[in-house]
């Protein structure tokens, strides 16, 4: 099997998960296409040193890094007077009751790029906090606190937009 045939087989098999990862990270088909394209291209160029059984993980790392590079370049800090979210752990049962395939994308859209990346890698790619820290180049503690903050914000957003009963909001 030639290099191109091997790569085409790999890319065809890996595309669904790479595409979904990219879309969950960005929420934008155009940006997701760019990320997948970059991931596939760099994987192709590194094909001789990528182990076939690890190629999907390699491509995902490339994809996440390309995404991270993008938001690092454009990151801006805005100082505010009030802390945007109250401290404390996320209300996990409440979030579990609210999140589903219909609500997850709008909830992800409200997160920052880093929060979104952590949530997607943790709960879609099912990486450990240590693995996420390695992929994003941050401390494991940062992953933990970012995930906690992201889940709080998701719950707050879903609670706010939850269906109402008897005119009241849950």
């Amino acid at each position: 099997m030639t290099r191109d045939e091997q790569f085409t087989d790999f890319a065809s098999a890996a595309m669904p998960v790479l595409w979904r990862t990219a879309y969950l990270l960005t929420g934008d088909p155009g940006r997701a296409e760019d990320l997948v394209q970059q991931a596939l291209l760099r994987t192709y160029l590194a094909w001789s040193r990528v182990r076939v059984d690890d190629a999907t993980a390699y491509a995902r790392r490339v994809l996440v890094n390309a995404h991270t590079d993008g938001w690092r370049r454009t990151r801006r800090e805005d100082l505010v007077d009030d802390v945007p979210e109250p401290p404390g752990p996320p209300d996990e049962p409440a979030l579990a009751a609210l999140v589903d395939r219909e609500t997850v994308l709008p909830a992800l859209a409200l997160l920052t790029d880093r929060e979104r990346a952590v949530v997607v890698l943790r709960y879609f790619a099912q990486l450990s906090e240590r693995e996420i820290a390695d992929e994003l180049g941050v401390a494991a503690g940062t992953v933990k606190s970012t995930a906690s903050r992201a889940l709080r914000r998701m719950r707050a957003a879903l609670t706010e937009h939850a269906p109402t009963t008897n005119g009241g909001t849950r």
Partner: protein, 244 residues
């Protein structure tokens, strides 16, 4: 983290409805990779440039009702072999303006397709020659097919597609109505396009290897019946571009 929340989040992200991906990405990445490989050896453009050139995108309006006159002309023999490969030309006229499509096949098997208009010789880069086409052709829209007839390429069934549109959101080649996907019995060799001059038509060229068309005369109507072009519409669907 409760197992329940973890499971709910994972399930939600796995099953959430998202747009379908485009199979072209696989082919475009492989194509860009091959080109980047070759260019690295030549010490030229970076991979990102190759990626940009691999997928043809731009913006586009509706094609016109009135067809432009497009007349295929016999392909000219290619210039002499260069150190890097053998360029091969195919020609056609668009409302009297001569257009030359030149396919360079490199020793490593990759290819580059360039366009020359109104007597200009296609350059070695992917750039199109800014041209009198937009000023000469009143309504420069539609597309035409030309095929390469030189002996070496006639054995591969390479068909060159030239087209011009306004405000393209993307174009793709189809064979027997199907776009490329893994396992297809045709290969998109190269593609590129450019709006030139600014505000003018978007001109594009695509080279596709169709083994089933191998050896046909360039005027054979089966070429035009088999090979087509689709453009992406406003709602994201692909619609046939009328052939001129």
């Amino acid at each position: 983290m409760s197992a329940d929340l973890h499971e709910r989040l994972h399930e939600a992200m796995v099953t959430a409805e998202i747009p379908s991906y485009d199979d072209r990405l696989v082919g475009a990445a492989a194509l860009a990779g091959r080109r980047a490989h070759r260019r690295r050896r030549l010490g030229a453009a970076a991979a990102a440039t190759a990626v940009a050139a691999a997928v043809v995108t731009a913006t586009l309006l509706e094609p016109p009702a009135a067809p432009s006159e497009v007349v295929p002309v016999p392909a000219a023999p290619g210039p002499s072999t260069t150190a890097l490969g053998t360029p091969v030309d195919a020609g056609l006229t668009v409302s009297g303006v001569p257009v030359v499509l030149r396919l360079h096949e490199w020793p490593d098997g990759s290819s580059d397709l360039t366009i020359g208009v109104d007597g200009r010789v296609p350059s070695g880069a992917d750039a199109l020659a800014p041209t009198s086409l937009s000023s000469t052709v009143a309504e420069p829209r539609g597309w035409a097919v030309a095929s390469v007839t030189t002996p070496d390429l006639s054995t591969t069934g390479t068909v060159l597609v030239f087209g011009y549109l306004f405000e393209s959101r993307g174009v793709r080649v189809v064979v027997d109505g199907e776009s490329w996907r893994p396992g297809s019995d045709f290969t998109v060799v190269d593609g590129g396009g450019q709006t030139s001059p600014p505000g003018g038509p978007f001109m594009f060229a695509l080279a596709v290897d169709v083994p089933a068309l191998r050896g046909l005369d360039p005027r054979d109507p089966r070429i035009g019946e088999a090979v087509g072009v689709q453009r992406r519409s406003e709602d994201g669907s692909w619609v046939e571009v009328p052939r001129r």
